[in-house]
Amino acid sequence: MSEKKLMYGNHAIVEGVIAAGCRFFAGYPITPQNEIPEFMSIRMNEIGGVFIQTESEIAAINMLFGAAAAGKRAMTSSSSPGISLMQEGISYIAGADIPVLVVNVIRGGPGLGNIAPAQSDYYQATKGGGHGDYFTITLAPNSAQELYEFPKLAFELAEKYRNPALILADGLLGQMMEPVEFTYKPIDPDTLSEPSYALSGCKGRDRRVVRSYDLKPGKLEEMNWQRLKKYQKIQETEQRFEATDCEDADLIIIAYGTCARVCDAAIRMARSDGHKVGLLRPITLWPFPNNVLAGMSKTVRNFLVVEMNMGQMIDDVKLATECRSKIHFHGRPGGGVPTPPEIYEKIQAILGGAR
């Protein structure tokens, strides 16, 4: 069996990023993700990687643009206001088809908001986020284990499709201590091959250009149609989810990240009282797991969407289920975290009280 260690979620990300062969981090401090740059600065120093505390999140995302365009695995982490500042850069990176990893440990918003856990950046993460037509691959871990494993997955998907990837966490996941099993052999960055777009000096080859613009008439439209094909391919092949107790369910809860943990406890309460309740946990928020939901909506009459926001993912659930089922909602915006009894109450209200 592989080694197991008790770790903070935010530290698990750092180990996951390093095990994924990433040796470049640039970022600006913001709560509740400060443990990531702090621990990263120590680890990168130990292994000879690059750690830069930047003057802003704008600088951070653009340093990533440079490092990733140079063909190296590069990541940054921040929390909501910082991620907002990065959006222009993410748009350029998406427009230049360059893979990077951005971790958003979401906090309550809008504005300065608060530092409590939240999921209110769902729209921003899954609908592009910045200007222009584009999408970012978005993963939603719900444990320290997944915080360790998803950086590798995120880099692999990002590189396979040449697209930015996001990991959405929140302060609760980041500050929670859980056992982490080091499930894979750390990747030696020197064994990663140089990507076809990498800027490395044009010795022995044609020069390369990384850019997101084309002013020739019709050319940008053509590029965007081309990129749509990539997005369709991602949507066809990369939908990921976890279904718990869904086979016989009268009601299926849809929740991700911290909310999924809370809902998992709630469905166990409901099951022990004889209610047939299941949980569908989207792991990829983009691509959203439409296919499984579309299938479920043919037999399941009630879905309950639980989010730490005013209701954002619910739009995707409605689209996926095409209004065949009833979609209920329970949300806690502004840094509120739902409790299992609170969700169980909602379950009872939908199913018509305890049996």
């Binding site: 930047t54 704008i58 590069a74 350029y92 000096g201 044009c202 022995g204 020069r207 250009v209 850019r211």
Partner: protein, 249 residues
Amino acid sequence: MKQLFGRPNGLTDVLQRYCPGCGHGIVHRIIGDLLIKLNIRECTVGIAPVGCSVFADEYFNCDMIQPPHGRGPAVSTGIKRARPDCIVFSYQGDGDLAAIGTAEIVHAAARNENITIVFINNAIFGMTGGQLAPTTLPGMKSTTSVQGRDIKKQGYPIKVCELLAGLDGPYYLVRTAVNTPKNVINTEKALKNAFVNQIENKGFSMVEILSMCPTNWGMTPVQSKKWVDDTMMKYYPLGEYRNRAKEEK
């Protein structure tokens, strides 16, 4: 017959779309030459700004990247740290470097990042049609200061060399011009130093180049060259503002 003058291999074989009398083309030519003379073309990554010289990514015959407006120094930092063996230069206008990108240039300089900055100061926003730049001179007309820059309303221009010279970080800061043959030769010397410093791992070098924009100054190319001498240089004196190589001697 022996060819005495031609396009250096540091520039691509495409027609450059700059206006007649524009300073960008002159500076491109100097850099194109240096990429060959210093034998660095094949290990160089250049950064094109957002501005009239956005097309620099087509013009320089080396690997190029085109990042968001003003972020060249951050992108350069990323490339240089990821690939220390590459020579990295960021080519920027005054809107790009001294307005929207002020934070990035100041911090790259403070870190003494081992990169080369080519800063074209033409005292105006060229690409967007002649609006006020942070470097527009007091009294100078622009499309957003049609009566002339009023320092009471629009404040004072930013003198970038002087500003960065207030930092301990930067290794080399110099201001030159490209309005006369003599000044072009001095600009070539300065740019050569700025690249050699990087090759020798000395750190941050910036060459600020006073450059003509006849189109948005509303002048002929000849008038604009004279205007650089008569007016611009009075506000922006040429010379070295930092040269650690000399201090080290």
